[in-house]
Structure formats: structure tokens, C-alpha cells
Amino acid sequence: MKLPLSWLKEYVDITLPLPELAHRLTMAGLEVAAVERRGGDWEHIVVGQVLAVAPHPNADRLKLATIDTGAERHTVVCGAPNLAPGQRVAFAGLGARLINPQTGQAETLKAATIRGVRSAGMACSERELGLSQEHTGILVLAPDAPVGAPLEQVLGDAILDIKVTPNRPDCLSVLGLAREVAALTGQAVREPDLSYPEEGPPMAGRAAVEIEDAALCPRYCASLVEGVIVGPSPAWMQERLAACGMRPISNVVDITNYVMLEYGQPLHAFDYDTLREHRIVVRRARPGERLQTLDGQLRELTPDMLLIGHGAGPVALAGVMGGAATEVSDETANILLESANFSNTSIRRTSVGLRLRSEASLRFDKGLPRELPPIALRRATQLLLQLAGGRAARGIIDAYPGREERRPILLTGRRLAQVLGVSVPREEVERTLESLGFSVAAQGEADLSVTAPYWRTDIALPDDLVEEVARITGYDAIPTTTLAAALPAVQPQPGLELKERLRDLMAGCGLQEIVTYTLVGRALMESARDGLGVSAAVRVANPMSPEQEFLRLTLRGGLLAALAANARHQEAMRLFEVGRVYLPQAGDLPQEREMLAGALAGPRHPPFWSREGGSLDFFDAKGLLEEALCRLGVEASFQPTEEPFFLPGRAARLQSSTVSLGVVGEVAPAVAERFDIPLRPVVCFELDLAALLPLAAAPRYQPLPRFPASTRDLALVVDETVPAQRVLDLIRGFSLVGRVALFDVYRGEPVPAGKKSLAFSLAYQAPDRTLTAAEVEGVHQRLVQKLETDLGAALR
């Protein structure tokens, strides 16, 4: 809401400097987002009186004006046709900053000699002052403007841009804000006088109002002014409308807008003669009904929309926009003014449904007081008579089926202290609430019975009053204490802990955490070829873009996209994300599963002056998964698996008994290509945190070995088809075998084709004694035999 200070002053005296006033409003809940000053740059411009006008000796169209500024007299050259002796004008002295009407730029006024006459200063037009585009003559000030006074004092203004929260539609009006200012500064509000002469015929026989749906229209008031002359509204009204961001149209329409800005009550003016039977019917639209609104659009109406009809058909969308057929035109002579209260729900649905949000609907949809329509109607009728002439009918129509009494609210001293943590003296509470227009009656020692003023629709509970007291006395006045209440019992959060541990583990393993958008597009999902089509994903009904239409089913797409985006300026990348995937569940919220996913690509070692070669590959990913699982105390095996995302033969599923924990593999080159990743190989892995969680175990201490180990190396030749894991499992399962490490895999001469050599280093150890050389040799021989018989291994 734009609030011109000059308009505000009409209802309340401003006793504070502007920055302080803005601060008080902000602190009280009406945030002043900006203050636009008009005339702040009018230095060296004062009110001058034109004493005499004489012809210019050398130019017919120019004149010489003698202007008195109180302290001095100046003779200046002036070309304005409207210049006349006796006028009070805006006189700019040397050094003033004025707008050059030709260029629109501000320039500093210097002395000039015009056709042989020296001119030191000038009388300004509105355009030169930056007030408007008007430049056909000079600006003539009011005859009582004090001569010599700075122009800013006379014409200067400040426009406050106030962010009004949706609970305060009363503050979408100058008067409403004046009431706040009055309460905050201890001043009184001057309400406009609402009287006007009622010289026309009685309203009763001239028009009628029928409300079919009282729930949607609790009150409908109307007045009639006959014999108006439609034309432009006066400059002062146009200026105020413009300052508030509204375009002046005609005196009749401007008055309805002006009163809306003044009181917060939207009004509508009908051309009385276009209303068939002079009968207003407030009803729901009928199926298939259509209406051409003021903006020229033909709109389809539905039965949940409230409309204003006359004897035959719709004439306006109630509270949202008028209809073209009953619009006030230059020929209009008789005006029927509407000032009504409509259900905010209905207005909101209609305006949102038609995407038609107007100044009126923005006020109605917040819920306006039912007491307001006749007040605003009288004000508008009065202004209509003043500015457009005509005669007002006697009385108004006031259909009020939705009358409601305001109930008092009991505000106890106990509640105030319970909520605020400090007791407020009853007199102070009383004074504060009364300053806001509440009526207050004492109830017992410490309590008050409080009734909200008609303009406040946001007060229903004692706590609403608590806020009123707190915000007007200031939140600063409330003390600051620390929580003393009992601490709740600690609820373990194993899922959260697991997530944070994995984050630390991954970062510890050298991976950079990323966070990608959970909303993804069809293209990304299909590129990731993650085996689950978009048909399996949860879809947003109103996506902002096709790239953010679905909730992701895997983290893969985001990871690969991040890999690709960084490939231009990064050699090696190790990325991971911990985040949710969203699996649809019929009739319920989707299942949100926490996942860990990572991607590796590029050289294993960062660029360095001493080269250490090799690209990140499957075993880097496997290694860090093994490390992570080991840290979590989870045992899992890597089983070959196939899915289109991975290269066949290079993907493994992490399996713990029957539970699948995740997957790791080399991304299929076709997939990497679709993401435009220049690096090969790209390795990806995924862990399902929900599957991992029940398996994770706290570490369990194992006694340190007390007797020395004997180490032996063992090189075996086995068939290519024998997985290393089988050999390892067999060795590990053998008695007295402690540590085992596979330290070499070799193919080629002299190992025959189709075979590979695996070299292990193993340590034999007993928990209760030092093994003798003979014992070790015996066990080793038996192990070799078992390897030969079970796996066809041969010693190398």
C-alpha cells in the first residue's frame, strides 16, 4: 500500500520525524519497505510572488517577470503564456536542479542572457519540477502559499511503501494507517464528515436490491445520484490516485477508487439507466452464463461465482470487476453506487479461478467488515455531489441479511503474563487498546472485557489482544529470558546419525558433497536410463518448467549432470550426494527414501608435479564402499548384476544376506555420452540408507593377538572363471589363518592362457600359543591341498 504523507496528514497530526514514524510502523507490524520523497531535491526553489509582467524588449513571445521571494526581487525572462501578476509561483534561483523539458535530464540552473536581457532564475513548470509531464505553462501555486517558503514545504511529499500483512485489510487504506499512526504516536484520528444534501426523490421507488445468497453477500448498500456531469476529476484527486499507483479515469470512477483507498472498501458505479428494471440481483452465476468484463474480455462463469445481475442477465462479477454494458461513460447522467460486503472465500475463488486480481478483489478476499459499506457509500456519494454535481436520492438501500454482533473478548491479566512473560499494568493495557479504537470495560481486579472496533476483522481471541498490546507498547519492552522449562527425554535418531556419519565418511574418503534439485525433467530421467520411467515418478501438477516436473527416483541423473557441468574445468571428480528419492504410493504420500550416491571419474591423483598415474575406476568406488561398510559394521558381498545404466560385466549389487543395500558399477558409455561427460570410465554407486540402517552395528572390541604370527606368501594359478572372492573366502575360512591380503593378480607368460595367478600374503596365528614351524608348515600344506581339490588351483 502506497501512503502519501500529505494524505495521511488529513486524518492525523504527524508529530514524529519521518524516519522515526517509518520505524514505529515497521516495529508495529506495518513494514515500511521504502520511502519515496517528492521535493527532496528542490534546493533553491521557493515560493515567489509575481509583482509585475512586462514585455521583453527584443522578443514578442517572451516577457519579463518581476518576482518577489520575500528577501529579494528578481527579474527573469519567461515564455509561459499563463504568467500573470499576483500569482504565487515556484521560483528557482541559481544553483537549483531542474528537469530539462527537452532531454528529461536534471540540470543545474545557471544565469543566462536571453535576447540581450540577463535572467538569474526562473518560474518553473510542473515538468521542470519533476511533478508531471505538464509544460504548457508555469505551475501556479495556491494564493495562500507563503512567499519565500521553500517549495518543499508547500508541495513536497513523501510516499511510504507499506507491506500490509494479509490479516490487516483495514491497513489497505489511508484511514486505517492513520488509525495505526494515531495509536503509535498518541494522537487522535479525524474521520471525514459524511453528510451531504439529499435533495432527490426517495431511494425506495427508484431502485431495488435482492440478495439471493446471503452467505456470499452479507450486505449490499446502494445510493443514487441523478444529473451528474462525467468529466475529469480535479487535480488533487488525480495526484493522490497517481501517488497510490492508480490511473485516473473519470470523476465518477476516480471517486470510487479514491474512497477505496481512503476507507479500504471497494465500490462500484453503475450507469443507472443501463440497469434493467433498476433492479440489482446478487446471485450465483448460472451454468453457461457469460459476461464481458470492463477489460473487454468475455468470461465464462461458473455457479461458484457470485455476480451482480439486473432484471435480465449479469452486469458485474461481484467484488472482482464490473461489466462493460453498465460501465459509466461520458453520456452517463445517473449513477447507482454500490458498496457491498461479499464473502472473501467466494471472491478469492472467483478471482483466482479467472486469474483476475484487482485492487477490489485483493481487499475483499482478505475479509472486510460488514459495518463498512454504508460508511464508504456516504463518503463516495458526498464526493460525487461535490465533484460531478447532480442530486442525491433521499436515503440509501441497505440490504443486510448477514448482520452480526461483535462479541466482547475477555482478556485476563493472567493470560497476558502467561504469554508475554511479564505482567502489564491494567491501565496500560486499557490505554493501549483504546488508542487503537477498542472499547474496554474493566472486569474484576485484573481483567478486561474488550470489543474490537468495526474495522478490525482480525481480532477473535484473547491472544490477538495480547499481540495488540505487545506491538503497540513495543516488543523491546518485553524482557529477555532463557528457557527454564524441563528438557524432553532424548529420542534417538539413528537414521539421522547414519546419514551424517556417511557424509563424514564420504568426505573423509575424498569425495565432495553436492546437493542437486529433487525436481527433475523427463529428459534427465530418460538420459540416466535408470530403469524406472517417468510414468513411475510423482508428478508436480503445476511445474515451473519441464526441467522441474517430476520428483526424482534416483540421484543418478543429478550426479552425472554435475559431473558433466564440471568436466570443463576439473580433471578429477569424486562427488556424492545424500538425499531423498520419492517412490509413489497409491492414495498416500510418496515414500521418501534416503539414499547415498556417488560418482567418480578422471585421474586417481590430482594434477601434481610428480606424476602418479591411473584413472579412477570400479575398484576405487568399491574400496570406499568397503571402507564405509566396515566402519558401519555391515557385512556385504558384491554380486554381479546387470542394468542398462551400467556397463555389462562391470556392475555389482551390494548384498547382505537377502537384502540389497545398493549398487556400484561402471556407467555405460552410452549413458555418459548422453550427459556429455568426456571422461572414461565414470563409476557410480548407490547405497540405500533404509536398508543399511538395521544392519549397522556399533564396533565390538576384539582382544589384540598376544602371540606372534608366521607369515607365508602363496601364489596360485586358477582358472579365469574362479572369482578372487571364492579363493579369499576359502583361505579366510581355514583354521589358524589370521590376516590375508591379495597382493598381486597376474596374467600372461608363464601362466597358461585362460588362467590367472593370484598372490596372497597370509599370516598364521593362534590365540593361545606361539605356533611352531612344523605346525605352520602342516597347516599351510593342508590349505594348499584344499585349494587344489576345491578350486583346481596349482601352486606357482
Partner: protein, 346 residues
């Protein structure tokens, strides 16, 4: 004989003084002290002499041997020292070469900030809990005192989930704030309640340097008997000091959120301009940090808490905004663009 020993001593010591490396020293040792060395031979030759002579010469010869051995040892040590220092000189590192980078990763800045913020509240007894990102309209709006068609719904532009409920209403949405967890937590527990809820939230919002359609919030909720507005002020003040420094000033002003009453907005004094007004604070000297307020009695009633008995406060802050302020980041879109040149700065 004695004279011979004297000359032998002079020659050996002179030679020893000229030796420059270990090889020459070893040759010298063999020449004089080795099994066939001159001194050894001389000592051995003594046995042929008569006892008187043998005794006198024996003392002298043994003294010579001891002297040469001592000289050898000293020389050996000196040569080794010289050699070692020469080798160290040869093998000195170019200490200006860059160090080998350790393979350590980093956490995303939002994770780091989340941990900081939750850590501060944890120290005040708030437990961290999480909730769903896809929510029912009921939890995101209705139970928070924002029924359908409430004008305050304009405060949260909502992304709805496809598919209507039997009444034709779009009942599921991407949560627009973390506040639905206020309801879920209170539905599941009885007072006292003291939780913080970090998580992603979503808005139907065009993105620019200060707006994102996905961002993180941290919600807080404390409900019990005797919790007051003064406690709200104190708790949030402690938080602001912990995160932004003890010298920070805070400001609490009235604001409106349908699920609190009274409503609060907390700001800290601008650390860029010390309150004088600059671009960071839009000239106001204050930077908005979070919304807060006393839990609305209707919200308590909704979860069957007796609002006459229990009171509480709630707050919600935007994580990225805090991170941007703290780390001087000027564009919120950097958080999810995942440019490693950005992420590696934290």
C-alpha cells in the same frame, strides 16, 4: 729402534692429516694398523728382543698404536661428518615445490551451515528431527490455521502434486515451509517439546539471485507449561549471538504468520555497515533473519494440547540466506549449480 718408532709416528700422523676420503683412510689404517701393518709388525717384532729392551720399546710401540688408533677414529668421524653434510647438501629438497594434496572431500555448504545451526540449538536442548517433503495440505496449511481460501495462502506459492483427492481437491503438495513438522511432532508427543527441524522446502517461484524454488529451512518449536514470549526473545538472541558474534544487536518486530500469535520477525544489526545502512541491508541497518512467534492457540487445540495450560514458541529460518550473509555469497543459485569451484571454497 726407538728412533724408528718416532719417525714412523711422524710419517703416519702427517699422512693422516692429508687424507680426504674414507677409502684413503681405510688404506692408511691397513698400512699402519692392519694385520700386516707397520705398527702391528713392529709390535710383533718385539718378541725377538731381549726382555729389558722389549719392555721399554713395548710401552712406546703400544702408545704409538693407541695414538694412531685414536687419530684414525677422530679422522673417520670427521670424514663421515663432512660426507654426510655433503650428501645432505646434495639431496636437499626444493622446499618451494607445492605439497601433495591430501585426498579429502568437503561437505556441501548447506550441510555445514545446517550442522552449525542445529548445533547451536542442540546446545539449548533442542533435538533434531526430520519430516516428509511431500505433505498433505492438512499439515502444510490447514492444521497451521491456514484453511483453504485463506488470504494468507498467498504468502506461500505452492507446487502441488498431481492427482486430486475424492473431493477434487489437490491435497498433496511440496511443503512450502518446515512448519508442518510442528503438527507432526506435537501429534506424536506430549509436552515438553523442544525440537529443530531442518529440511528442504519448495516454492513456485521464479529464480533470481535471492530466490530459489528449492531451499532449506530450519524450524524450531518449544512447547511446555510456562514458556513465554520473553523465552522466545532470549532463545533467538542466544542463537544470533552464537552464529553471528556476541557483539550483534537483535531487533524483534511484529509480523504476521497465521500459526503464531503474537507474530515476530527477528533481525540483526547489519554487520556490513554497523547499522548505518548499506546495500546488504537495503539501507535499513537491519537484516531479517527469521520469522517466529508464540504458537497459536488454535494450532495447540488442533493437536489436543490445552492452550490454557501449554504455551510455546516456534521459529523458522532460511538456511541459504543465513549462509549467504555469513559467507558473503551474493547469488543463491550457486548452492545447487554444484560448480566445484564454488563448493571447494567451504
Amino acid at each position: 729402534m726407538l728412533a724408528e718408532l718416532d719417525s714412523l709416528k711422524a710419517t703416519a700422523l702427517a699422512e693422516l692429516g692429508r687424507l680426504q676420503d674414507a677409502k684413503a683412510l681405510e688404506d692408511w689404517r691397513i698400512r699402519y694398523l692392519g694385520r700386516k701393518g707397520t705398527v702391528t709388525q713392529a709390535l710383533r717384532g718385539l718378541s725377538a728382543l731381549p726382555l729389558e729392551e722389549r719392555r721399554a720399546l713395548g710401552v712406546a710401540a703400544n702408545a704409538l698404536k693407541a695414538l694412531l688408533e685414536e687419530g684414525y677414529a677422530q679422522r673417520l668421524q670427521a670424514l663421515r661428518k663432512a660426507e654426510l653434510s655433503a650428501r645432505l647438501r646434495r639431496e636437499a629438497l626444493d622446499l618451494t615445490l607445492p605439497g601433495r594434496p591430501p585426498a579429502l572431500g568437503r561437505l556441501h555448504p548447506t550441510t555445514q551451515m545446517l550442522r552449525q545451526i542445529c548445533g547451536v540449538f542442540a546446545s539449548m536442548g533442542f533435538q533434531v528431527v526430520e519430516g516428509p517433503e511431500v505433505e498433505w495440505d492438512y499439515y502444510n496449511f490447514e492444521a497451521l490455521n491456514i484453511p483453504a481460501d485463506h488470504p494468507a495462502r498467498d504468502m506461500w506459492d505452492t507446487l502441488w502434486i498431481d492427482g486430486a483427492d475424492p473431493q477434487g481437491q489437490r491435497a498433496r503438495l511440496l511443503r512450502t515451509h518446515t512448519s508442518p513438522m510442528q503438527i507432526r511432532v506435537m501429534e506424536q508427543t506430549r509436552p515438553p517439546v523442544r525440537v529443530v527441524v531442518p529440511g528442504k522446502v519448495y516454492r513456485y517461484e521464479a529464480t533470481d539471485a535471492t530466490h530459489e524454488s528449492m531451499f532449506h529451512q530450519v524450524e524450531g518449536l518449544a512447547v511446555d507449561e510456562g514458556i513465554t514470549f520473553a523465552d522466545l526473545k532470549g532463545t533467538l538472541y542466544e542463537f544470533a549471538k552464537a552464529l553471528f558474534g556476541v557483539e550483534r544487536k537483535v531487533r524483534f518486530r511484529c509480523d504476521y504468520f497465521p500459526f503464531v500469535e503474537p507474530g515476530v520477525e527477528m533481525a540483526i544489526d547489519c554487520f556490513a555497515c554497523a547499522g548505518k545502512g548499506c546495500r546488504l541491508c537495503s539501507g535499513t541497518g537491519w537484516i531479517e533473519i527469521m520469522g517466529a512467534g508464540m504458537v497459536h492457540p488454535e494450532v495447540l487445540r488442533r493437536v489436543s494440547y490445552d492452550p490454557e495450560r501449554y504455551t510455546g514458541f516456534a521459529f523458522g529460518l532460511g538456511l541459504e540466506r543465513i549462509a549467504m550473509l555469513k559467507w558473503g555469497i551474493d547469488d543463491i543459485r550457486l548452492f545447487y549449480a554444484n560448480d566445484l569451484r564454488f563448493l571447494r571454497q567451504f
